[in-house]
């Protein structure tokens, strides 16, 4: 029983990190209708900046630098690449992001090499014991940080003029532009926000019990794709639910691995994708996604 509780709590924490990444993904999609396949490399960029700077300037400034850096990279991608596309077909831009991803990931993995770089976080491997249940401090920090960030984001989305502009652009970009919403700024800020959220997620994907930032971190970040898809690409609620669902499933599959040996080792890494396929079979637009309506 205590194992189950531990697994569920860890899963929620992991899921909230996935939700952070998926949220950035959804924000970009809602603001610009572009599916950002370069998201994992934004995350890697944020993590890398934090990892290289924390020795010199301390952890918290390094984290801020990582967030700012990833936001800057995201904004730069939008400004230098996405904005140059003059056509109207958004699936083309999805392919451009694949090109961007190849570029960024190659450079970052080249820099990281075969190293495993710790991020110098203050939590270390400390563990909190609540009766029979023990939980790593990092997991608690991840959950709290994710909840705070997501809450702040949702409030901003709802009440600030930036959020209104964002939602207006998602509703109908043409009308929004006619009403004076500057679409360029909306999409620039969407990319920057997504980059920042990804950088925070990078921190929590690489702290204890994970050894540190390595090449494979971007593979872990990829699991936010199924999270965003199974929730529904255009739904922020979907991103949160999807993230939690993916996190808990992964945690369960990893936790009960010994009972599932007939399915092979490393099932945890596979679980998010299996859940996604199962859900897409039943609901092709994801759990909360709007069904595609088309006027003919």
């Amino acid at each position: 029983m205590s194992t189950l509780a531990e697994i569920l709590l860890n899963g929620l924490s992991l899921g909230s990190v996935y939700a952070l990444i998926a949220l950035g993904f959804v924000v970009i999609f809602r603001a610009t209708e572009v599916v950002n396949f370069a998201h994992a490399s934004l995350l890697l960029a944020g993590g890398y900046i934090t990892a290289t700077l924390h020795d010199d300037i301390g952890f918290w400034p390094a984290l801020l630098a990582g967030i700012a850096g990833a936001a800057l990279v995201g904004a730069a991608v939008e400004f230098l690449v996405m904005r140059r596309y003059r056509g109207s077909d958004h699936s083309v831009l999805a392919i451009v992001t694949i090109g961007v991803d190849i570029l960024l990931t190659t450079e970052l993995t080249r820099r990281i090499g075969t190293d495993v770089i710790p991020l110098g976080d203050p939590w270390g491997d400390a563990v909190l014991r609540l009766g029979p249940v023990s939980l790593a401090h990092t997991r608690i920090a991840a959950f709290v940080a994710a909840v705070l960030l997501i809450g702040a984001f949702l409030l901003a989305f709802r009440y600030t003029s930036w959020g209104v502009a964002m939602r207006a652009a998602a509703e109908s970009s043409e009308t929004a532009a006619l009403m004076g919403v500057r679409l360029g700024r909306v999409s620039l800020s969407a990319w920057a926000v997504a980059g920042g959220l990804a950088a925070v997620a990078a921190l929590f994907l690489t702290v204890f019990p994970t050894p540190g930032l390595e090449r494979a971190t971007s593979l872990a970040a990829l699991k936010a794709f199924p999270a965003a898809i199974l929730g529904g690409l255009d739904s922020t609620t979907g991103a949160l639910v999807g993230g939690l669902l993916v996190g808990v499933t992964e945690s369960l599959a990893t936790g009960y691995q010994s009972d599932l040996t007939f399915l092979g080792r490393g099932l945890g890494d596979l679980a998010p994708y299996l859940v996604m396929v199962a859900i897409l079979l039943i609901r092709p637009a994801g759990l909360f996604g709007t069904k595609e309506l088309a006027r003919v």
């Binding site: 999805a94 080249r110 794709f225």
Partner: protein, 404 residues
């Protein structure tokens, strides 16, 4: 007929790469046919697929003939390195034609191509091996094993049809991403079938008593090893695959596919069975991937699971974007570019600036190649919609103004 008048369908206008003009003279997409080059293609009636008479006065006929005949001589002049590089390019070209049918011509984004390549490669091993190394092997004749491997890849694609027939766009892209991870999981864990992380040996192909291995056979004073012999098998597979895909694209299925890409609902209203076509194209594309996998396995002589990862899928997408979405020649051009680039850079890394040997801290050739084609993907989409194939087509338009 075009439902979206905002996207000009004239060949000289910059359409988006997902709505490319075919470089084929026969009509592809919703463009009215150009009657001069397709006899019987007047008044909107498509030319019968593959039935254009080659004209002896047309210089392109000769260019094509040279393009087919010249590679036949390569094994007599090139060394093993170039032959292997060429074989990789051929295998990549076959796989790229497959994904171009799916992503380029039908507009279905697939990131799972690597999975079907793996099915082909491992399928061949399982069918052809004699079980001598303790792994499952059925010991079938190798040609039969190759055919069965391609069919199994098709079946795998068909099993995915509940998803591939219903989802599109990013949903399909990420759903197919799942295939890559499921595939890798199986490859690492189904030890009896795949040999686990170490992979398994590939039995050499045997056709009509000729074994495609390194036992030397001397033809016209040139020793023929596996690369030389496979060269012809690969060339044949590529030619057949390319011709078949051309036929598909030119005929009714091709028009239906382009209609689905351009406007799914309009296609459905016009009577195209959309879900069935999408599932069918997915199967066909998987079979191409399977064939590419078989050929790759034969060239590598060993299959390892690490190779068939997400990177490989992205490589294939890069190929068709660089080459040109939706056309066979584009797929081949892109495949040659993406698969030869790392090999060329490795070979000439000493002579090139900025590139150093792997592990010395500089930019290794493999990385330099990835930089180049990552940038190529971005630049092609932004500034050269239609890819390499369109450049050739545009030139053709310029030199032969009467043709269009």
């Amino acid at each position: 007929m075009s439902e979206n008048p905002a996207v000009p369908q004239r060949p000289t206008a910059p359409g988006g790469p997902l709505r490319p003009e075919s470089d084929e003279p026969a009509p592809a997409g919703l463009r009215p046919p150009s009657g001069t080059r397709a006899p019987g293609g007047r008044r909107g009636v498509p030319a019968p697929p593959g039935r254009r008479r080659a004209r002896l006065t047309d210089p392109r006929t000769y260019v094509r003939a040279v393009g087919v005949v010249l590679p036949l001589a390569f094994p007599f002049y090139l060394d093993r390195f170039w032959l292997q590089a060429g074989l990789f390019a051929m295998a990549a070209a076959i796989g790229a034609i497959g994904i171009n049918l799916l992503t380029g011509a039908t507009g279905q984004l697939s990131m799972g191509h690597a999975f079907f390549l793996a099915v082909g490669a491992y399928g061949y091993c399982v069918f052809a091996a004699d079980g001598g190394d303790g792994l499952t092997g059925l010991g079938l004749p190798t040609w039969l094993a190759a055919v069965l491997a391609v069919l199994v890849a098709g079946v795998a694609g068909g099993l995915f049809s509940p998803i591939s027939g219903r989802l599109s766009g990013a949903y399909l892209g990420i759903a197919t991403l799942a295939l890559v991870f499921i595939g890798q999981h199986v490859m690492f864990n189904a030890h009896d079938l795949t040999g686990g992380a170490n992979g398994r040996d590939v039995p050499p192909l045997n056709l009509f008593g000729l074994t495609f291995d390194d036992r030397e056979l001397v033809v016209a004073d040139v020793p023929f090893g596996s690369a030389e012999k496979l060269w012809y098998a690969g060339l044949l597979a590529l030619l057949v695959g390319a011709q078949f895909a051309r036929g598909v694209l030119r005929g009714r299925p091709g028009r239906a596919m382009n209609a689905i890409r351009d406007h799914r609902i309009a296609a459905g209203v016009l009577g195209v069975p959309v879900a069935r076509h999408r599932a069918a194209v997915f199967v066909l594309s998987s079979m191409y991937a399977g064939l590419a996998g078989v050929l790759l396995a034969l060239v590598f002589q060993r299959t390892v699971p690490d190779y068939f990862g997400i990177t490989l899928s992205l490589d294939y997408l890069a190929m068709i974007v660089i080459g040109g979405l939706g056309s066979v020649s584009g797929a081949v051009a892109g495949a040659v570019f993406v698969s030869l680039l790392p090999q060329l850079l490795t070979r000439y890394s000493d002579a090139l600036p900025f590139i150093s040997a792997p592990g010395t801290g500089g930019i290794a050739p493999g990385e330099a190649a990835r930089f180049l084609y990552g940038a190529a993907v971005v630049l092609v989409v932004l500034f050269l919609p239609g890819g390499l194939a369109r450049v050739a087509a545009r030139r053709r338009v310029r030199t032969e103004p009467g043709e269009q």
